[in-house]
Structure formats: structure tokens, C-alpha cells
């Protein structure tokens, strides 16, 4: 036992006796050190150098950037009635490569989208990566399509513009494209105010997709601002309806009506024909699209005569009762001859306006140097655009005074040889309604009326011409049909031949521009009918009744007190059954 005990100790086991060389443990140690150094290095690299990428990767697991949509501003009329509003719709799109539908699914989808199965198949077999199947469908329909869970078919949210006024407001408002950007009219003119700016923000989402934390707002969304127009919904409808009726009655090519508030220069109505429905623009033609009152010019004809008379009165050359010899109804200037439609004898200045004598107007005009007349027309806003900010607005033609020949000055005194648009015509009549001054027109609602206007004529002149304008709508004038029962109104007819290829053809533009009520003017109404071709073509027969209809309705709608003598009304009350029509005279 003792022998055993003594013999084997662990250390002295000959088998285990270290015969190893000294480098081996050092090598292992070095390996371990190297390994841990590599780990530390890698960790430092990931933490310190490559960290941004990794952090972004990590964040993308829970953080999302959300688009925050912004809506386009509403357009309202002056009372706040909505004229245009954006409402969310969906557009259905597809990735053709992913969209592998069996025939029954295709039929279902085609049925919901209201397209032919063949058409749909054709679209889905396209080579493109992305195609719209149908844009701007109702959200309910899009939800039903989404519920089918078809592969490769998606939808996206968009906005569509709706116009409850339809064709009544079409030309004023214009419209937006599929991308909700203004393309015409107010929509284009006020684009910067109406357009919303979509924002975006970064958020943290939980497993169920709820937003749990707002990390940062990258851009705040900005909803478009609401635009309140100067247009009065009701007057606009009256103008539109009267114009539509007249277009039918007179088989006219086109027409326009403008109603201005004489106190503030606001445009209360602007109607054009032919018109269109902005909610459905499938068969739209350029002809329907034109906002004629602003973008088309015409030779105004006799509606210019009151300005000629006003100039003569203002400079003291004549008084309202000065007699001008208009016999024998024709007059030769240079090599050209001008004439009256109906020959007159000797007329007073007031009668020249009342009877619309070309000779009378020409004689008054020719007593002035061309520069004086040009200055007056320029002051009235002719020859340059009104700068309402409306797209496509034109200024008409007014040649510089130096280039005028006497015959041209004569014809311009009664509105030929120059061109204007209907809005300019209404604008210029402000001088008579506002006692000689002119304020800038506005398409948007004004909170306060403009303080100063530009003075063109003296108040005295303006009042005198206003009296003459009233004579026009009375018996013996050119437009008794323009009279409005219960109110004193006045205006001037215009019947201009149209220039076709440089020659006057037997095509006419009938117009009427008037003011109501005469005692304290509130409204200016301008009417233009292009090529009436149902037998009548005089402004007094074609345009004056529209003026009467629109003015009567507008005055009533605005609550303007009647200023015609009250006696006939009382008479009418006694014999209640038979309405008196012409008591206003």
C-alpha cells in the first residue's frame, strides 16, 4: 500500500509531464485576445461608424412617415352658399403583372367599374407597371372593390371637385383637373389661395397600426383657403335663366349678361351662353368654354353714344337741350358716308341718345380733337384689360389717337371701329351710375366699398346723361321693352353689324347696357346677344327684354325700394284683377 501511495502523484505522472514548448500557450492566448479585439472593433464600428444606417433600419420597423392630406378651399357666393367643394374619392389602379384574375373575378370587377370585360382584360394585359383602371370613383364603390381582395388591384385617395350650381356658374368658376388643380376661371385665377399644401409627419406605430407617438412634424398640412366671390347666387341664376330663354327665342349664337353692384364695383352676376356642366365635361367644346363677357370682344355700337354725349356736356360744348341737325340722316366725311338707321331731323342732345342717332353722335365727337376723345375712352377703361385676374381676359381694340382719321373718330363716337368686351362696357357705365367716377371691379366679395374712384366726368354731367338714358326706355326711345315696373331705369341700346373677314356682314350683335334705379343707382346690367337670327336683331327688341327681366328680379332680390311714382300701384290695387304693366313710365 505504501508503495502505491508513494508512487503516483498527479504532478509526477510521467505521461502528463509537460513536454510542450513555451509558445503554444502564448499562441492560444493571442488568439483569444485577437478574437475579443475583433469583437470590440466590430462593435465599435457598428456603434460608432455605421450607426446611422442601422438606426434608420431599426426605426423603419416602427416609425412611419404619414402623408397628411390637405383639402382645396371651398368657393362660396357672397351669402356663403357653397359653389364648389372638394370631396374625397378613390382612384382604382392596378399593377398588371400582379393582377392575375380568374374570369369570374374579372367579370365582377368589370361590373363594379362599369367597363367592358374585354376593355378591362386589355388594360390588365398591358406592359406597364402601373395603370389606372378608373379614376375618381365613389368611396363606397372603392370599398366594395377592396372587399373583393383581388391581387394587384389597389386604390388611392384623391379629391374631386363638385359644383352644385352646374351650368349656371360654369364660366365664373371654371374647373379643376383630375389632380385637383385649377384649369379655368376662378379655380385658376385664385389657385394660390384655394390650393392646399399636403403635409407629412413621422410617427411611431404599434403592432396594430395605431399611431402611438408623434416623433416629428416634417411639414404641417395647409388647407386651401375659402374664397368668397362677389357673385350673388340668385342674381346669377336670374341672369342665366333669362339669357338661356333669349338664346332660344332668338336662335342666337352666343350671349352674355353682366350685373355689377354700382355702389361697390362688385360683380354680382356673370352669365354666358352657350354654357356647360362642369360636373360632366365629357363632350366639352371650346365654344362652350369661352367666358365671352371677358375673353371675347365685339364692336359695341350705340352703347358708346352716351360717353360721346357726356364728353360734349362735360367740356361745355353742348347742353342737354342743344339742337343738333341730323337731317337728312346721312353725312359724308372724306370719302365715306355714315347714316342713321332711321333718318331724323333736328334733335336735341337728349334726343340723340333717346333715338340713337349716329349723325348726332358723330357731330358731337368731331368737335373735339382725337386726343381728348382717346383720353376719355382710355379713362373709361377701354383698350386695356380690366385686370380682374381672370384667365384669358382681353382689352379690346382702341387705336392711339394719332392714327385716327376723321371718319374713324366719327364712327367711334357711336361704337364702331373699336372693340370692347361686355365687362368693360358694364364697367364704363359706372360713371353714369356713380356720378362720374369709376371704381375697380372685383370678383371677390369686398368687406368695405372702395373709397375713391377715378373721376372721369363731373357729377352734374353724369346726372344729365342718366336722365337721357331714362328717356331711352320710355315711349319714343329705342328700348321701351327695357322698362321695369315700379322702378325708374335707364340704359342704351346697341345694334352693331359684325365684321366678317374685314367687311360688315348682315350679322348683328344686339346689346343693352342699363342702370337701375335712376334716382339712386344700385345696379349696372349689361346684356349682349351675338347673332340673333330669328327675325329681330335690334338691341331694343333682343337685349332690352333680358335687361328688364334680370333687373326686375335683381332689384327685388336685393330689396331695393321702388322709386317710380306710387300712383299707378294704388290704382292697380283698386282694380286688383288687371295688373298695370307700364306704370313706371
Amino acid at each position: 500500500m505504501k508503495k502505491v501511495k508513494k508512487g503516483v502523484t498527479f504532478n509526477h505522472n510521467p505521461l502528463l509531464r509537460s513536454e510542450l514548448s513555451a509558445w503554444r500557450p502564448r499562441f492560444v492566448l493571442l488568439c483569444l485576445l485577437g478574437g475579443s479585439l475583433a469583437l470590440v472593433g466590430r462593435a465599435a464600428y457598428l456603434q460608432g461608424v455605421h450607426d446611422q444606417f442601422l438606426q434608420a433600419k431599426g426605426e423603419s420597423r416602427y416609425a412611419r412617415v404619414l402623408e397628411v392630406p390637405a383639402t382645396r378651399g371651398k368657393i362660396t357666393d357672397r351669402q356663403g352658399d357653397v359653389l364648389a367643394v372638394s370631396s374625397p374619392v378613390k382612384s382604382v389602379w392596378a399593377i398588371p403583372e400582379d393582377a392575375r384574375l380568374d374570369p369570374s373575378q374579372t367579370r365582377q370587377l368589370a361590373g363594379l367599374l362599369e367597363v367592358g370585360v374585354n376593355e378591362l382584360n386589355q388594360k390588365l394585359s398591358s406592359e406597364k407597371d402601373f395603370i389606372y383602371l378608373k379614376r375618381q370613383v365613389s368611396p363606397e364603390l372603392a370599398d366594395r372593390i377592396a372587399a373583393l381582395k383581388l391581387p394587384g388591384i389597389h386604390d388611392q385617395r384623391e379629391y374631386r371637385r363638385f359644383y352644385p350650381g352646374g351650368d349656371v356658374m360654369a364660366h365664373v368658376l371654371g374647373f379643376t383637373g383630375v389632380d385637383d388643380k385649377g384649369q379655368e376661371g376662378i379655380e385658376l385665377a385664385f389657385e394660390s389661395q384655394l390650393a392646399g399644401k399636403p403635409g407629412s409627419r413621422r410617427v411611431v406605430k404599434d403592432r396594430r397600426g395605431n399611431v402611438v407617438e408623434d416623433v416629428q412634424s416634417i411639414r404641417l398640412p395647409q388647407d386651401g383657403r375659402e374664397v368668397a366671390l362677389s357673385i350673388d347666387n340668385k342674381i346669377q341664376y336670374l341672369a342665366h335663366a333669362a339669357l338661356k330663354q333669349a338664346m332660344n327665342d332668338h336662335k342666337a349664337k352666343a350671349g352674355g349678361v353682366v350685373v355689377l353692384d354700382a355702389k361697390t364695383g362688385e360683380v354680382l352676376a356673370l352669365a354666358n351662353a352657350p354654357t356647360y356642366n362642369p360636373n360632366n365635361r365629357v363632350k366639352l367644346t371650346g365654344d362652350q368654354l369661352r367666358n365671352r363677357a371677358l375673353t371675347d370682344t365685339f364692336e359695341p355700337g350705340s352703347t358708346m353714344k352716351p360717353f360721346t354725349a357726356a364728353m360734349a356736356l362735360d367740356k361745355g360744348k353742348v347742353t342737354a337741350n342743344t339742337i343738333i341737325n341730323c337731317a337728312p340722316g346721312r353725312m359724308t366725311i372724306g370719302s365715306a358716308t355714315i347714316s342713321d338707321a332711321h333718318p331724323h331731323g333736328a334733335l336735341s342732345v337728349a334726343q340723340v341718345i333717346q333715338k340713337s342717332s349716329n349723325i348726332g353722335a358723330a357731330k358731337m365727337a368731331l368737335s373735339f380733337p382725337p386726343e381728348t376723345m382717346w383720353k376719355m375712352l382710355d379713362d373709361l377703361g377701354f383698350g386695356s384689360p380690366l385686370k380682374l385676374g381672370f384667365p384669358g381676359e382681353v382689352g379690346g381694340r382702341l387705336r392711339p389717337a394719332k392714327a385716327w382719321r376723321p371718319i374713324e373718330q366719327a364712327t367711334m363716337s357711336y361704337g364702331h371701329g373699336m372693340s370692347v368686351n361686355l365687362m368693360q362696357m358694364a364697367n364704363a357705365y359706372q360713371v353714369f351710375a356713380r356720378d362720374g367716377d369709376l371704381v375697380p371691379l372685383s370678383l371677390s366679395r369686398l368687406d368695405a366699398p372702395p373709397v375713391h374712384g377715378t373721376r372721369v366726368f363731373s357729377p352734374q354731367t353724369a346726372r344729365e346723361v342718366r336722365q337721357m338714358l331714362e328717356l331711352v326706355v320710355q315711349q319714343g326711345g329705342t328700348a321701351p321693352q327695357a322698362s321695369v315696373p315700379g322702378y325708374r331705369v335707364g340704359g342704351k341700346t346697341g345694334t352693331a353689324m359684325k365684321l366678317v373677314g374685314g367687311r360688315y356682314a348682315h350679322k348683328y350683335v344686339a346689346s343693352f347696357v342699363g342702370i337701375a334705379p335712376i334716382s339712386d343707382p344700385r345696379l349696372i346690367v349689361a346684356v349682349m346677344i351675338d347673332e340673333p337670327s330669328n327675325g329681330k336683331h335690334y338691341g331694343g327688341d333682343v337685349a332690352a327684354p333680358i335687361f328688364s327681366q334680370v333687373t326686375a328680379g335683381a332689384l327685388r332680390s336685393l330689396g331695393v325700394a321702388p322709386d317710380a311714382p306710387l300712383k299707378p300701384l294704388q290704382v292697380a290695387r283698386q282694380g286688383a284683377s288687371q295688373p298695370v304693366v307700364r306704370e313706371a313710365m
Partner: protein, 88 residues
């Protein structure tokens, strides 16, 4: 000394639990705010649609048609209008 340490440890644990709880609470509230904001947006959209509907029903063309055809109304003739003057 050991007592104080124990007490402080307990405080630390309690406050950290508080942090967790309040963070959770904050997230829950935030989700609620988010939901309400979405609802307000939706209501705004609905308001627009209702205004649109109202404008469509109240279109002058429609009212005139109904008044004329259904109710047999017509604009008053001039003789039927009586103006009442207010004396100051």
C-alpha cells in the same frame, strides 16, 4: 446603512414602474387623440358633402321648377306688389 439602501432601491423600482405606466398611458392617450383628429377630419369631409347636398337641393333652377310646376306659383305682377314705405 443597509436599511437606507433597501429603501432607495425600492424607490428606484417604484419610480421606474411609474415611468413605464405613464409611458403606456401617454401612448394610449395619444392614440385617442389621433382617433379624434381623424374623426374631426371625417366630419369636416361630411360637412362639405352635406353643404354640397344642400346646395344641390336648394339650386334656384330646381326651386323655380318646383314652384312653377308643383305649387303653380308665379312671380307677382307689378300691380300685385304693394310697397310699404318706412317713415323716419
Amino acid at each position: 446603512m443597509a436599511r437606507l439602501t433597501g429603501f432607495l432601491v425600492m424607490l428606484v423600482v417604484a419610480s421606474s414602474l411609474g415611468v413605464v405606466a405613464s409611458q403606456h398611458q401617454a401612448r394610449k392617450l395619444y392614440t385617442a387623440v389621433e382617433r379624434e383628429q381623424q374623426r374631426s377630419h371625417q366630419l369636416e369631409v361630411e360637412w362639405g358633402q352635406l353643404q354640397l347636398e344642400q346646395s344641390t337641393w336648394a339650386a334656384h333652377a330646381r326651386i323655380e321648377k318646383l314652384a312653377r310646376e308643383k305649387l303653380a306659383m308665379r312671380p307677382p305682377q307689378s300691380g300685385q306688389i304693394i310697397a310699404i314705405e318706412e317713415r323716419p
